[in-house]
Amino acid sequence: MATATATVKVVKTSTQTGDIIARWVVTLFAASLLAMAILLVYELVIGSADARAKLGIWRFLVSTRWNPVTEDFGAAPFVYGTVVTSVLALLISVPFGLGAAIFLSELAPARISNALTFVIELLAAIPSVIYGLLAIFTLVPLMRLYIEPFLKRTLGFLPLFQGTIYGVGFLTAGMVLAIMTVPFIISVSRESLLAVPRDQREAALALGATKWETTWQIVVPYAKLGILGSIFLGLARALGETMAVTMVIGNDPSIHASLLAPGYSIAAVIANEFSEAGGKIHPAALVELALVLFCLTILINGFARLMIMATTSKGSKRP
């Protein structure tokens, strides 16, 4: 029994060459992106070398001093400000964002939903400087005259709401960041919610669940991945936001327990001081701050990935 073995000769036609070229080109693009990331880390590490040598990494992270005259720098107030304003922004924007997304995907008629989504996506595209400007002229007086005195009167027993009212501060910065992250959360969450298959909803309703129970217990958990993704997208924006924050945070490099007090964030101090920073240590310290922010972002994104992996493996997702 002879098995017919057919040998196919590979003919190098022009399509084959085209394929090869295309493959190399897209590989090049991907590699260049990776190269850029590596270059970024390299520059951050090299640029901060003077400061790391003089100040030491651990001491830099915990020191609360920022003195350009004696060249004694510490990252603690800025890390604190960045984290506090970002967490505050999420605390305010997630309920609003998720709620709005649920409304747009489950409850609103299609026409209204589409119109509103269009407007919300426009909001996401507005430059942050404009938000900062709006905040200075409208939000800051609002906070100083009404909201912060109200909070101080009612919740003043908490150390979070004590101290002088300036209008600018952690709370105002958190609110501006919340206003800026809400459109992202709404837009991505709404897409995730709409992607949940209809049978899931119908099955729940058929089993006797109310509309709210269906939404909250079936639809939202199904779309958890996308919603979490949108939250971390918003967080990433909040961590790196520069102009809007520096306009309303008060620019005071110290740690205060009160949310009414002024503070500073990493991005804001780099933007304010880098162009005039003289000598060797001051610019290097600012680059070291940038490295700290970079590591913080990686840590948070890594944590987000782990969380997503954990929730997915629990089988709460795809069939």
Binding site: N251, D252, N272, S275, G278
Partner: protein, 338 residues
Amino acid sequence: MRTISVALMGLLVMATAPFAAAQKLNACGATFPDPIYKKWFSEFGKTHQGAQINYEANGSGGGVKGVTNGTVDFGASDMPMTDQELAAVKNGKILHFPTVLGAVVPIYNLPGVTQELKFSGPVLADIFLGSISKWSDKRIAADNPGVKLPDEEIVVVHRTDGSGTTFVWTDFLAKVSPEWKSKVGAAKDVSWPKGLGGAQNAGVTGLVKQNPNSLGYVELVFAVQNKMGHGQVKNANGTFVKASVETVTEAAAGAAKNMPADFRVSITNAPGKNAYPISSFTWLLIPSKFSDPAKARQVKEMLHWVLTDGQVFCAGLSYAPLPLAVVTREEKQIDAIH
């Protein structure tokens, strides 16, 4: 056909040659003299064959960096370059040319207080240090008899960015308060013991305007243009003086006698009956050597014009012109440029 077009091109190039005499110069530096420099350079261009001088106000530090690295033709700074900065300059020396005088004034926002407030140096230092925290403090009241000051906390406002304005302010505070000198020091950017930070003169003005019971410092020009009440400051002779063209010029006149040869001098807390104590020169930082002789010529022409014809524009913009004695000495320094 080809030869005709080539010939035409040649003619065109030759025709533009005379205009090449008008150089385009790039400069950057201090924000304080930005209004007067812009006015000067545009006026200079009108009377000197369309010479173009581009000035970008990115801060005194930017001006120093620019001339150190040679990225601009000349710079400007509200603070003279330190010995360290001068040593770091790559090509040749940098010459300092004082151009105008300015003043830094305390601005405040006290609703209900219509009188002009008086501040003595040590009181200002203690307010910025945090030792004096309320407007109703005895020491402020002692300087302002008869003024009803509210029992509110003083909202201190300072700069976030490095600035010559900050240098002049902290230089004065360091001279009148040994505690300030040892704790904080005088520099373009310091570690402020307390207060909110605003970016540039405009940022500080904005924060003071928005926050009642606030106190900040800005250049006189900005205070005048934004119609902000600014206070009087006690000078070295013990008189409370309000910043104006006359009082600032008087501060410089005293300093002109003992001016060092390189013009790097601080005139804060200057002697003089009506001298305003927080005054300062602002300098143009000119390289002593230019690789392009046409540029060197242009710069020398510009300096000569600035020191003579240009000074008439100062008063209109609330800058004090230079005393004649200083101008004479500077004219001699122009010869050092080549």
